[in-house]
Amino acid sequence: MKRRALIDGTAPPSGGADGQGRALAVVACLALTACAGVLGLTRSGPQPFPHRKHATAGITCTRCHVGIDGRGTPPAGSAPGGGRGVSDGVPATLHIPDDAACATCHGKPHNPGPCLTCHAAPGAIAELVEARAHLVFDHGKHAAPSRGDCMRCHVGIAEGDDHLRPPMATCFRCHDHDAARDARRCDACHRGLEDTGLLPQSHLAHDGDWLREHGTRAASSGDLCQSCHREQFCADCHGATVPALPATRRFSDPFAASVHRAGFAARHSLEARSAPGACTTCHAPDRCAACHTSRGIAGEGRRSPHPPGWVGPAAADNAHGRQARRDPAACASCHDGAGQSLCVSCHKVGGVGGSPHPTGWSSRLPLGALPCRLCHPTGKAL
């Protein structure tokens, strides 16, 4: 139809594009609706506890979380409804109300099961237990300064029922921890940070390509890194005695960050040639040769990896010279040490290769030391 309209020279129906756009929008809406649960836009399973709904109904926090303000822990039978005051299987120090506490208002429960089975986000209790284990914090001491207004810190309630744990910046509104922060003394509030798995949320967030970014950030914040990471964390990659690639040691975690992830063995030569020197930032130059030799890829009796015409007169297609300038670390990975004599046999004054130094070359090394003395045996400039 459209083709005919073009041939006839008549304009296509004006509603065509709009119609297609509308159809696409409808399809997109349907797809989004269908996937809303998967994307987390809607919840079909257990919901976070509706704190916001209770707060706006005028129910004070301590009416349910009895004893959290430090005015005594709820003894058996003293909690609203006469229950124990805390849910079964939940540490009493968390002050999580039990079903009897809920029943003081919700007289006719719609389900005989425990309330928190459905009215608590999955893993919420586990997160609280972990927070209590790794944070030095006492709600009781904060009750008086906040005059019982829990929402002075738990401001997230105003926005919804997720993320009720206040961010660290909330603490700094009242507490002056500048000295502790400057001294990286996180243990005034945090216990065992290495084990918590917490990640920075605002600054130095470990997002995007953090693997590349971390070196630049750590350069000026190394002491900050040490507040969460142990020595092993750096040594796992940067150590000279790494037992196995981190990706190999954690093969069952496909989301662990590693430059050697997945099929790195197949593509490593492409990556190495595209980023000259990148391997050298962690590995000793002879690492390539050692690995290739142990795997039988290089070494005596093996075919040279260089194409025909690799070494030739300067006037010809002298590929090796160009590649050596491009990535000398790649040459050094095989030819360093004893292999250097191969280069020096041509690259010497009077030799066919001429001087290997570029124009304007300078060095502070004494001519009598290695590698200068390979070409300058008399210790003098030629």
């Binding site: 910046a169 350069a219 142990r230 093969f251 050298t280 060095s363």
Partner: protein, 389 residues
């Protein structure tokens, strides 16, 4: 020396008994694979006998092709004064001094905070060589850094380090680093390393990021001269190479509560070759805690004759009884066939179990690469951790 350090570390790690001592954490992992190394046993220990004092050790032994070897990755004791004004480390550890490259040493490092927001840190020791090597005469590495806090959350530092091998200078570098948090949403960091042995810029990196709600963007630039990263004793360090550059923008967007999208768009330059590079990655958590998740990634990379396109997908599905099944697939298509194929698939399927104390996993890995037309390996892992009070 290593034996003395090990004795000291073990003494500190096991010196419990104080009321405020943390638990002694022990961990052992055994990895077996049909690819080398065929077997690997790793033992880790970490303890905090008291406030400001900690020690850790990681040792391993591997066996492949009827050969066994073992080594020490870390044996270090770390101490800090109560107010955090001074800290020290002794043992085998990785020292990262400002803009200079990390170095694995057997030695000691000290950091002291001085008045007027200055910090001084220094280290010295023997560069670690694999294989418990001894008799390293006149091998040493030493360096220092002076930094000053700028404003509330900024820092500027200057570092110097040199290494010698058999008394010969192998590396002498000067580094400058800077970093700052600008307001509540912006970070900036930069490092600059200059080779003093064969004068020239070795490496420069700049990163600036901005966070706005669910979107974080980072601008990065890098410059690297490979010849200045080689030991000065190497003939290849005197060639005077053509530096390589890289730059781009990374955007991380949490576009739905469980969906993150990361896009990296940049370019590389090596000699006269310039090529664009792009990565698009998405991660979908299938539950609120991310115990089950899917990722998909498309990537275009490389420069000159080494360009390639790749796709990767991975999944982790949590099962009942602390079981999880994971799978990872990758397909790489090189633009140029060098006689060893241009299509390299790789795949791994694993079943893991983790009850917090015990971890076990078994996997099958299959691949084709320029080295192997096809290859299948089996991997198995068993680990256990102990908290001893």
């Amino acid at each position: 020396m290593t034996r003395a350090l090990a004795t000291a570390a073990i003494a500190v790690i096991t010196a419990g008994g104080r009321a405020d001592a943390g638990p002694l954490q022990l961990r052992g992992d055994a990895l077996a694979t049909t690819a080398a190394p065929a077997g690997l046993l790793t033992l880790e220990a970490h303890g905090e006998p008291g406030p400001g004092l900690s020690a850790e050790a990681v040792v391993w032994i591997a066996s492949a092709n009827d050969e066994s070897r073992g080594d020490v990755l870390v044996i270090a004791v770390r101490a800090r004064t109560a107010e955090g004004r001074a800290s020290a480390r002794i043992g085998r550890f990785v020292e990262s001094l400002g803009a200079l490259r990390p170095v694995h040493v057997d030695g000691a490092a000290v950091r002291v905070r001085l008045p007027h927001a200055f910090t001084v840190e220094t280290y010295g020791g023997l560069p670690v060589l694999p294989g418990l090597a001894t008799g390293r005469s006149w091998n040493w590495a030493a360096g220092g850094r002076v930094a000053r806090t700028v404003g509330e959350a900024g820092s500027l530092g200057v570092a110097y380090a040199q290494q010698r091998e058999h008394g010969r200078l192998t590396s002498e570098e000067l580094g400058v680093d800077a970093g700052a948090a600008l307001g509540r949403r912006d970070d900036i960091g930069a490092r600059f390393a200059y080779d003093l042995a064969n004068p020239g810029i070795a490496e420069v990196a700049v990163s600036a990021s901005h966070r706005s709600g669910a979107l974080r963007t980072e601008l990065y630039l890098g410059h690297r001269a490979a010849s200045h990263l080689l030991p000065a004793t190497s003939l290849f360090s005197v060639l005077g190479d053509v530096p390589a550059q890289r730059g781009g923008v990374v955007a991380t967007w949490r576009c739905a509560p469980r969906l993150d999208v990361i896009a990296d768009l940049g370019a590389r330059r090596v000699d006269r070759d310039v090529a664009p590079e792009a990565t698009l990655r998405a991660r979908l958590r299938l539950d609120d805690r991310g115990a089950s998740a899917l990722t998909a990634e498309l990537r275009r990379d490389g420069v000159g004759d080494d360009t390639w396109t790749g796709a990767r997908g991975s999944a982790r599905i949590a099962l009942p009884r602390q079981l999880a099944v994971t799978t990872e697939l990758e397909l790489v298509l090189a633009d140029h066939d060098r006689g060893s194929g241009a299509l390299w698939p790789w795949g791994l399927a694993a079943l893991g179990w983790d009850d917090g104390t015990w971890q076990a996993a078994v996997a099958v890995e299959a691949s084709a690469s320029p080295q192997d037309r096809h290859r299948v390996d089996v991997l198995g892992q068993l680990g256990r951790r102990w908290d001893v009070r």
